[in-house]
Symmetry: C2
Subunit: 749 residues, 2 copies
Amino acid sequence: MDLVWLVPTTGVLAVLFAFWLARNVLTSDAGTPEMQTIADMIFEGSMAFLRRQYGTIAVLAVVVAGVVGVLVASVSDGVREIVFANSTIDYGERVVSPTEEGILTALAFLAGAAASGLSGYIGMYISVRSNLRVASAAQRSLKAAITLAMRGGAVSGFLVVALSLLGVSGIFLVYSNVLGNPPSIAPFLVIGFGFGASFVALFAQIGGGIYTKAADVGADLVGKVEAGIPEDDPRNAAVVADLVGDNVGDCAGRGADLFESMSAENIGAMILGVAIYTVTGRIEWIMFPLVLRSFGILAAMVGVIVMPMFAREEDFDHPMRPLDMGYYVVSALSIVGLFVTTKAMLGDVWHWYFFCGLVGIACGTAFVYITQYYTSGAWRPVKEIARASATGPATNAIIGTAVGLETTAATAIAIGAALLASFALGSQAEIPEIPAFTAGIFGTAVATMGMLMSAAYILAMDTFGPITDNAGGITEMSGAPEGARRITDALDTAGNTTKALTKGYAVGSAGLAAFLLFSAYLDKVKDRLGIPLVEELPIDISSIDVFVGGLLGMMLVLLFSSLTIRAVGSAAEKIIEEVRRQFRENPGIMTGETRPDYGRAVDITARAALREMVAPGILAVGLPVAVGLGFRFLRDASVEVAGVEYPESAGWLAVAGTLIVGTIGGILIATFLNNSGGAWDNAKKYIESGDMRDAAGNVVQKGSPTHAAAVVGDTIGDPFKDTAGPSLHVLIKLLATVTLVLAPLFVNS
Amino acid sequence: MDLVWLVPTTGVLAVLFAFWLARNVLTSDAGTPEMQTIADMIFEGSMAFLRRQYGTIAVLAVVVAGVVGVLVASVSDGVREIVFANSTIDYGERVVSPTEEGILTALAFLAGAAASGLSGYIGMYISVRSNLRVASAAQRSLKAAITLAMRGGAVSGFLVVALSLLGVSGIFLVYSNVLGNPPSIAPFLVIGFGFGASFVALFAQIGGGIYTKAADVGADLVGKVEAGIPEDDPRNAAVVADLVGDNVGDCAGRGADLFESMSAENIGAMILGVAIYTVTGRIEWIMFPLVLRSFGILAAMVGVIVMPMFAREEDFDHPMRPLDMGYYVVSALSIVGLFVTTKAMLGDVWHWYFFCGLVGIACGTAFVYITQYYTSGAWRPVKEIARASATGPATNAIIGTAVGLETTAATAIAIGAALLASFALGSQAEIPEIPAFTAGIFGTAVATMGMLMSAAYILAMDTFGPITDNAGGITEMSGAPEGARRITDALDTAGNTTKALTKGYAVGSAGLAAFLLFSAYLDKVKDRLGIPLVEELPIDISSIDVFVGGLLGMMLVLLFSSLTIRAVGSAAEKIIEEVRRQFRENPGIMTGETRPDYGRAVDITARAALREMVAPGILAVGLPVAVGLGFRFLRDASVEVAGVEYPESAGWLAVAGTLIVGTIGGILIATFLNNSGGAWDNAKKYIESGDMRDAAGNVVQKGSPTHAAAVVGDTIGDPFKDTAGPSLHVLIKLLATVTLVLAPLFVNS
């Protein structure tokens, strides 16, 4: 049964695999000199932004690590060993002092921040080197191009997953075995890693998201709408900034997002495992999530390797087919891995948790299809938006909003059904002395793990998006032949789909994980209050603190969305002004005689994005802390002044309300933003494809008023789907990790 | 102390006052024959729609009343008398049998439905008779016009408030004294009245909201955007439908909305009062809400009477001034009434509840100002949207969305602060044997009552909106002189503000009331479970049923918004096609030689609106019932099949999650929809006012691309602010009343 050796082995293997893929990509043909010139500009712009962005984030991370360390050291009681004896719990010796807890948490935070930053940086480095090779391969073969794009994307995917696995397990090892602590306390110290990862992910996603959409919106408005030149036209000064944006937003941002998803989910599941471990004494309950993740990595590797076998030359109409087939292979192998792991590690009740894992895998697949249904041109929703464009931009926007809101139903029902099913299955597992409630929650954790087994493959598909998008841009700007464009167009369509479905997948996993992370938070609070972990601690939503906390949680989601959406608008205006200025001051640009100053546009975008990312970032980290401390001191003060003890009132209760309502709201608002944006985008593409006919039966032309209306919708959706929506994913998980780390601060003295 | 006689007296007085106002309005000058022709068309169209709509609703209401009666009769245990004895509770004899309970609930439902329908119908009748008189008065004097518009609006306002008060108190009287039941059980039977009122309000608001915005969007798109003719131009076939829409949406819809707000809040507060009554034996705790409401009506009467004194001729720039001054008078008198009522009825602890009431009055005032800040052209948010219009409709839409989302922060903070403050103050009231928790919740109820004391005046201001809007339309269409237009323009601006702030007020009161209605629901569940009302019943949001119920509650809000927004889009397309057809087939319309066929456009709009109101209506009523029954039977079945008792799982728990998260989400999403729409509207008006200058310092002209972009934003906002947002208010309260009535169905056997 001892499968734990798989964890470091797979982690190292995944890193080696990523390097092999990177070498494979980098040694392939690098195209014509024209292509290289453009690719170099994208590379320079991307890396310059990333360096500046990570420089800012690094400073913030070090400051926050210090603050967190000091706070934890000053308010915590330290960590005590949990000793189980006949249905009661005994908190033994304090094995970690408050100061040690502060230091270890701060160090874990820094490790998480560094690993998250590193995986984003390397992944992006390869991604902006892959685009050129894919563009070059597209001059020869669809199969070669799709293989190369997927491999370039997989570098990022496997590094993210491997660093998350190695980070969590490495710190766990150091904090238990190396420092000589009992394994039951280590997960409570490792959460700093998740917080660090979330923190970097938050700023990476917000900053990148603002950059990419400000550039995109700015370039579109001034190019397509005002000057009447096509997308990616080299006369547009913002076009390089736009291509840079695809990398820094979609690639680095989503990598950081899923890095923290996996880390937070791993740690949360380990904390739940501690509850069972303290009763059964079996360490497998804590190590299970790490082993299962290892099998997921192996499955994803096979998927990436076999995917090219399903690619057919000349099959321009079904570019998603090989990617989909690869996903089925990963899912099938994941089921095998799930079987082996549950059977080997979870004793007599393994089959119940095997079923829970299946629920998770099914849920992941459901999300892939739900997203495609709502955002792909083949089905009713997108066609409905396209049709509404015939009566102008306002009806396009109205129907797009309605479609986006509608998509939340399938999402909520899928998450709800998966939670209910996995909880019901898990609670059937009769583990002696473990209440059905605890066993059930562990079931939801296994479902989340099952869903996230395919994370490396999904991430590879996601990064496939910006790589192919860039390849298309390079092909267009370098004046490559028609055949190559046809290939990159097909890849670009597939890339849009994969980008959209990754978002659905990220939301779905956040929804499933929410429940287990919330339970982990309650475990931490119980630990602090001296309540056995296997006992229930009700969070009564009819109490005033929880209700108002919940109200503020919902507010956080909406205000955060407001700030990120507005940031795109503000930054885009700066870019529009710059492009207009260049057109005005240099008439040679429009005639094609002189090249616009791309670098200046890139620089202006970068500065605007970095400035705009600060306010939403501070709100996201600050509000839960303010609620927790505010309610704690409000209650303490009112007890002192009025001499009245409020029933069931405390900072940790208000924070629980913020966490849970913020999570529910965040999941569904993110779904709305992601899918409305995706649907608007594809409604425009559907019209451009020439498949739409008006009432008189004529094909709706590109450039017609109907198309112009669809372009407006697409632009409205840009900050929704690529800035606010993805940033909300990160916000949800940040909420979970920040409250988990700082829980002791919110418990009234 | 016996102030109860005030309740019927004030109720009757308010009805008489409404009739006096109606007579006053109807006997004033009815203008020129041209005006009368147009006003008659509006009148005919409005009444025809209302008759058809209420016909449909009446059938639905009778069916639902029957179903509710049968359900309650078959699942309830009947109602038992609650006898208090030394900290324990004793359920005495069953005084109402299940069959009786079913019949009484169904009858109360029908009474609520009838009263709600009646107040909407009469109010609207006067409103569509007032518009003409206001237009006529505008040819003479601003002061006369504003006085008449306010009086016309007040007819609706006082009827709504009086019928709610008389209905609730009358049924209470019949169900306790006349039938010989103890007063502690009557409030549980009266809730049917609230449910009936919500049910009618829901369909009235959805149907009216779809009608008004489908007509508005359709008329705008085809008129202003396509044909390039101004608003309210008689050549537009949809223009009468648009004017009809103002009445059926804003006037009848909002009347029904606030009718049920007050009824639900009254009944909820009475149920909370029962908890204290069962311990103290003092009936005042049950009757207090009705008496306080009576004082509110008296204060509002004085406000309406004195308002004209503050109006100044020729003060075109501050049309809101007299309305604001009247509101201050109402607030000041409300404080006096609050003082008298609390002191007379609430014994030793009266001062704590006096403070709670003050919190509510302050909260109402805060909402009036928050709404004005975010939706009036004088401040930053609207100017920001106007400025963004310079870069096109997409940036206008993006910034408008950001502003709308931002407004949720002030709303959430104001509601949260008012709840915390009134709960804290209320829980200081030391009533023997009553826990601080119960006393605190009663404090939030008093705050809600305090806020709603000014309801009649606020409603009068609200109906002022469509009356002045219509008066402007009649003036424009009948070719009245410039001076009259200047007056109606000033009134129209004030009317837009009053319409917006009523929505803020309705959301705020829904937020405050949410907590008390939720407590009332728990009281009903406790009653059914045999738990003393003064004991706490925790709703643990970390339990799977509550969490998934909450997820579905948030989903309900978003899906409901989707359906109502889409309905406007679909109906508007029908109207656009019709107007285009008329322009095409009858070229004389555009040259002004022939009149378009207004009646046909009115008819098409009415049919489309009635068809589209069914789906969201069924969703709103059906989802909470489906959640409650679904979870109940799911649990029952799983206990039977698997032999496992789930911990803390039941239909009523899942419904509690749906109720509370749906309420929080509904309040804030409604705020977003209302305020983004209002801000877009006023950004357009701000540009039209000629106050905006572009980067070069030139005044932005009406008809410029910037203005066109602002018109797109205004149109997007139409279904947000006048259909989905207001319908969400009703949804929130319907959720509360439907669960309150059907609570026994959701308790596992």
